[in-house]
Symmetry: C2
Subunit: 592 residues, 2 copies
C-alpha cells in the first residue's frame, strides 16, 4: 500500500485549530489563505505518494554507495525525484521571495515535511537539511553571503549541510578540534574532520554549502571559542556559479540501522577555503538557529513515519481475519477482522492519539516560530520566543520517542508479518530511530528543557506555560462536555507546578537532581502539552458537533482515549521524578 497524506487532519490542525490563515492575515500575508495552503498540501500529497514513496523501499534496499573515492551515489531515482522537486519550486517553499522563494510560513513547510518524511525520510532529509542551512544563513549571513548563497538554496540548485560532530566531540562540542586559520584575503583555511554529516556528499546538486564549526587560531578553549564558517564544495566564481573545487572531501559513508538512502558522511577539510558566518567565537549560538529549526523539523518527520506505519497497521487490522472478536461477529466469515479485538484497538488508538496530538503540538510550535518572526507586535514576538524555546526540545524528543513506540506498535499489530521486510513497517522503525539520537540526543533535549529552560529561571517560563494551560482548562471547564478533559488537564498543570518548585528547591543542593529528573520530566511535560492539545482539539470538535464530517467525532473519541488510557502514565512519571537522584548516583561505577 502507498503512503497517503493525512490531508483532513492536517487541514483540521492548520485551519481549525491553529487558524493559520488568520495568523497570516495578522502578520501581513493575507494572500496565503486557506485555499492556497490547501493547494500546497494537495500537491505535496501527490508528490509524496506518486514520486518519493515508491522510492522508499528500493532506496532502503539499495542504499548509498561510494563508486570511487569521494564520490557518493544516492539510490536510483533519487536524483530524478529531486529534479522534479526543484522544478516545481518545493526547495523554495518557505524561502523569502527576495531570494526566489515562495514565502510560505514555517508551519506550512513543516506540515509538508511531515508528508515528505512519511513518504520517504531518507530522500526528504536532503532538502530538509538544505532548507535548515537557508535558515542559518538568513539569520547569520552578511548581505553579500545571503545574495550569493540563498538563491541557490531556494532554487535547490545547491544543497547545504551542518558540520558539527567530530569523533571526540558529539554532545560536547567544546572538545572539537577543527581549526580555522585567517588568510590575508579575509577568508579562512579550514582543516579537520567531521563525522555524521547528513548529505555531506551526494549526486543531487551542483554544489554543497557546508556550514562548519571550527576554532580560529588562539580562540578561547571550549564552546566560547567556536566559530561558524561557510565552506562550499565548489568555490563560487565571479558570477556566483560553482567554480573551483575546494579542499573538502568525503572520506567514507556510514553503514547504519536505517535511512540507508541518506548519505551519512565523514567530511575531511584539508586547508579548505571558508568564510566566517556571523561573528568570530559566536559560532555555537549561530548554529543553534539552524539546530532549533532542525529539532522541530525532525520531530515532524518522526510524526510522518509514525503516520506511515499507522496507515499500514490500520489497513492490515481491517483486512486480516483472525479469531472471533468478543463483540459483533461477521456472519459470512469464519473469523473477524482483528480490528475488533480490544488489544488491537489499544495499539491502534495509541498510535492515532500520539500521532494527531504530536502533529498538532509540533505544528503549533512551528507556528510560534512564524509569529516570532512575523508578528507586528514586538511584545508578542518576545513572549512567543520564550514559548518556542520551551517547546522545541519537547517536540523533538517527545515526537521521536512516541514515533519509536508507535512504529513498534504498528509492527505488533502485524504480528510475525511485521518482522518481514516487504510489509514495510520494519523500515519505518529503523528509519525513525535516528531522530532520538541526532540533532542532540533526547537526553540532551531533556536537559535543555529542565536545566536551561525551567530551572535556569527558577520555573518562571514553565509557570507561564502552565498558566496558559490552566487558563484554557478554566475557560472551557464549566461546559459539561469539556469537563472530562478540563479537569484532568487542570489537575496535571497543578501537579507539574508543584513538582517544578520541588525540583527548583532540590537542585539548589543536589547537583544531580536535574539530570536524574530530566528525561521523565520532559515526558511529563509532554503529557501536559498533549493533554492540552487534545482538549483544544476536542473543544473545536464540540463546536462542530452538528457536522456530518466524521473528523469531529473521531477527535472526541481519540481525546477520550488519550485522557482515559494514556494520561495515567503521568502518575508513574511523577513517582519516578520524586524518587530523586540517590538510587542513580550512590552506587559506585564498579557496581554497574
Amino acid at each position: 500500500m502507498t503512503y497517503q497524506i493525512p490531508l483532513r487532519d492536517i487541514q483540521f490542525v492548520l485551519h481549525e485549530l491553529l487558524q493559520v490563515p488568520a495568523m497570516l492575515e495578522d502578520c501581513g500575508q493575507p494572500e496565503l489563505d486557506a485555499g492556497t495552503i490547501d493547494q500546497v498540501l494537495a500537491a505535496a500529497g501527490q508528490f509524496a505518494s506518486e514520486v518519493i514513496a515508491p522510492l522508499n523501499a528500493p532506496g532502503d534496499a539499495h542504499g548509498c554507495s561510494m563508486p570511487s573515492p569521494g564520490v557518493v551515489q544516492t539510490p536510483p531515482g533519487f536524483k530524478k525525484a529531486y529534479d522534479e522537486f526543484t522544478k516545481n519550486g518545493w526547495a523554495g517553499l518557505a524561502c523569502s521571495p527576495e531570494f526566489g522563494g515562495q514565502g510560505f510560513p514555517s508551519v506550512v513547510a513543516n506540515a509538508v515535511y511531515e508528508v515528505f518524511g512519511g513518504a520517504n525520510m531518507a530522500w526528504a532529509s536532503y532538502p530538509g537539511m538544505s532548507h535548515a542551512t537557508y535558515v542559518n544563513v538568513s539569520a547569520n549571513g552578511s548581505e553579500e553571503q545571503k545574495a550569493l548563497y540563498l538563491p541557490k538554496i531556494a532554487s535547490g540548485e545547491w544543497a547545504g549541510t551542518m558540520c558539527l560532530t567530530e569523533p571526540n566531540a558529539g554532545t560536547d562540542l567544546g572538545l572539537m578540534r577543527t581549526r580555522a586559520v585567517a588568510q590575508p584575503d579575509g577568508s579562512y583555511s579550514i582543516t579537520g574532520s567531521k563525522i555524521f554529516i547528513s548529505g555531506g556528499e551526494q549526486d543531487l546538486t551542483g554544489n554543497i554549502m557546508h556550514l562548519v564549526l571550527a576554532r580560529i587560531t588562539d580562540a578561547p578553549p571550549g564552546v566560547k571559542g567556536i566559530s561558524l564558517f561557510i565552506v562550499p564544495k565548489f568555490i563560487p566564481d565571479a558570477n556566483g556559479a560553482a567554480g573551483a573545487r575546494n579542499g573538502v572531501v568525503c572520506g567514507s559513508i556510514e553503514h547504519k540501522l536505517g535511512i540507508h538512502g541518506n548519505s551519512t558522511c565523514t567530511i575531511n577539510f584539508d586547508g579548505a577555503t571558508g568564510w566566517l558566518l556571523g561573528a568570530p567565537n559566536k559560532g555555537l549560538a549561530g548554529m543553534f538557529v539552524q539546530m532549533n529549526h532542525m529539532r522541530v523539523l525532525v520531530g515532524m518527520i518522526a510524526i510522518g513515519l509514525m503516520e506511515a506505519a499507522y496507515q499500514k497497521a490500520l489497513a492490515y487490522a481491517k483486512d486480516r481475519l483472525q479469531g472471533r472478536t468478543s463483540g459483533a461477529r461477521s456472519s459470512s466469515e469464519v473469523a473477524d477482522p482483528i480490528i475488533g479485538h480490544a488489544d488491537v484497538r489499544r495499539m491502534l488508538l495509541t498510535q492515532k492519539a500520539n500521532i494527531e496530538g504530536a502533529r498538532a503540538l509540533a505544528l503549533w510550535t512551528a507556528q510560534l516560530s512564524d509569529l516570532q518572526r512575523l508578528h507586528p507586535d514586538p511584545a508578542r514576538r518576545n513572549e512567543t520566543a520564550e514559548l518556542l524555546g520551551l517547546l522545541t526540545p519537547l517536540v523533538k524528543a517527545l515526537s521521536s520517542d512516541l514515533a519509536v513506540e508507535g512504529t513498534l506498535l504498528a509492527m505488533q499489530v502485524f504480528g510475525g508479518h511485521g518482522y518481514i521486510r516487504e510489509n514495510g513497517v520494519e523500515q519505518h522503525l529503523r528509519d525513525v530511530r535516528i531522530v532520538g539520537l541526532y540533532e542532540g540526543t533526547n537526553g540532551v533535549q531533556a536537559m535543555d528543557l529542565l536545566g536551561r529552560k525551567v530551572l535556569a529561571d527558577r520555573g518562571r517560563q514553565m509557570g507561564a506555560f502552565l498558566d496558559m494551560a490552566g487558563a484554557f482548562a478554566e475557560t472551557c471547564g464549566p461546559r459539561e462536555a469539556m469537563r472530562e478533559f478540563a479537569e484532568p488537564l487542570a489537575a496535571l498543570a497543578a501537579d507539574i507546578r508543584q513538582l517544578t518548585s520541588e525540583l527548583v528547591a532540590t537542585s539548589a543542593h543536589d547537583p544531580h537532581a536535574a539530570g536524574a529528573a530530566a528525561a521523565p520530566y520532559l515526558r511529563l511535560v509532554g503529557h501536559l502539552a498533549l493533554a492540552w492539545t487534545w482538549a483544544r482539539m476536542a473543544e473545536v470538535a464540540f463546536r462542530n458537533a452538528g457536522s456530518t464530517d466524521p473528523i469531529y467525532a473521531s477527535k472526541i473519541a481519540t481525546a477520550r482515549f488519550y485522557f482515559q488510557r494514556l494520561l495515567p502514565q503521568t502518575a508513574a512519571l511523577c513517582g519516578e521524578i520524586r524518587a530523586g537522584s540517590s538510587a542513580l548516583m550512590e552506587p559506585a561505577v564498579e557496581l554497574l
Copy 2:
C-alpha cells in the same frame, strides 16, 4: 568488544537465589552439584565468546541464502560452529541419558541458552528449536518414535522444527488448511504450505524432523480438528538413518528485520509422509508442550540480547569522555566519562535492573518446569504446574518487551554512534524484536495470562501467587533493612488482588473487558514478579552483607533503583486498566 557470559550473576541466581543444587538433590540428582553446573557455565561462556559471538555480525551481514531451489545456506562458519557444538555434547545438555543426553535440568539449559542467544541469537535458535522438538516428542511420542528420533536430536545429528503457521492462520490456528490423509500402512500423506518456519531448511544437519499441525480427513472444524505429525525431511530407513527424501521442500526464505542468520522458511508439504504424534485431533495440546517450552526459552534469549547490548553500552559509558559531570570531575581530562551523568546512569541501571530481574524470574520459571517433572511429591508437582502456567506467558512477553526497551536504551547511551552498524547494538535491537512477535504475540501472551489463567478460575491461581508474594513480604518485612522492599511489595500485591477481583466482576458483563486490560495487566503482574524477585535477591544480599564480593552491594543498589525509579510505573498501569474498554470499543471502525 566480545560478549562475555554474566557468570557471577547466573551463579548468584542458580546457586544462591534458586538453590538449584539443593533442588536437584531433592529430585534425586545429587551428582549435578554446584561445581558441575559451574563447569557447564564456564564451558558455555567460552564457546559463546570464542566460537559463536565472532560469527554474530558477519552472520547478520551475510544472512541465509538459497543458492538453488529448496537449498538453504546458513552464513559462513555456522556449520563449523554447529559441528563443534554437537561434538562437545551441547545438543544433549538437557536430554535424558536414556537417549544419549547429559540429563541437566531445564534451569541450567535455559541459563546456557541465555548465553548462546546473547552471543549469537540467529545461530543459537537452530539448536534451541531442535531441543524444543525433543521436549515435544518426549512428551507425546510413542516408545518407538522416541527411540527412533530422540537420540538423533540429542546428538545434534538431526534438527527439528515446529510447523504451525499458514498464510491465513497465525494466532488463529483453527483456520489452518494443511491436510493429512491416512494411508494403509498407518502413516499419513501431508499436503499444505507452512510459513515462518524457523530453521525449516538449513545446511547444518543431516536430517530435519518437522513437527507439523494438520487436519486429518473429516476432522472437526477449528482447533478441535488439528493433529500433530512427525514429517522428516528424509524418511528414516530400517537402521534409523536418513533415507529417502520426503515430499517436503523449502519454497522460499523471508527477508526480515533481524536474525538474518536464522532461516525463516516457507515449507511446502506435497503428499509428504508423516506419522501421527500423540492422539488424533489433540495436536494443539500436544504442540503446546513445545510452545510453552519455547516461550520460556525465547524469553531467556531476549534477556541474553539485553545483556549483550548492556555490556556494550556500559563499556562505552565508562570509556566515552564527553561533558563535565555534575559531581566529581577527573582532573587529568577535559571531559569526564559519560557514566557520571545521571541520565546515563538512569539508562544503564534501567537495563541492569530489568536484565537481572528478568533473568532471575525466567530461571525460576525454568526451575518450576524441572520441579513439575522431577519432584517426588505429586502435590508439589501439581501446584508447581499451576504456577508454571501463570509465569510462562509472563516470562515470554515481559522479557521480550523489556529487551526491546533495553536495547533501545543501550543504543541511546551510544548517542549517534548507536545507529552505526559496527557498534553492534543496532543488530541486537533488530534481532530481539522478533521475540515479542513469535511463539504467540505478546498480545496473545497477555490474553493467555488474564483470560485463561486469571479470569478462567475467577482469580484463584493468581490469588495463590499473590499469597506467596505477600507471605514473603510479611516474613522479611519486620527486618529493618528489608522494609523498603517488603512494604511496596505487599502494597502492590494487595492492589493487584483488588484489581483482579474488579476485572473478574467487570468481565462478567463486558465481553471486551479482558482484552482491554490484558496488556497492561501482564505488565503490572510483571512488576509484581520483578519486585518480588528483587526483594528476594536483596534478602540474599543482606545475608551476605559482610562479604567482599561486590555482587551483594550491587544487588542491594539495583533493587533500590528498581523499587524507587521503576516500580512507580504500576500506578500508570492500574489507571489504564481501570479505564476499562469503552474508549477502545465505542468508536466505530471508520473513526480510526
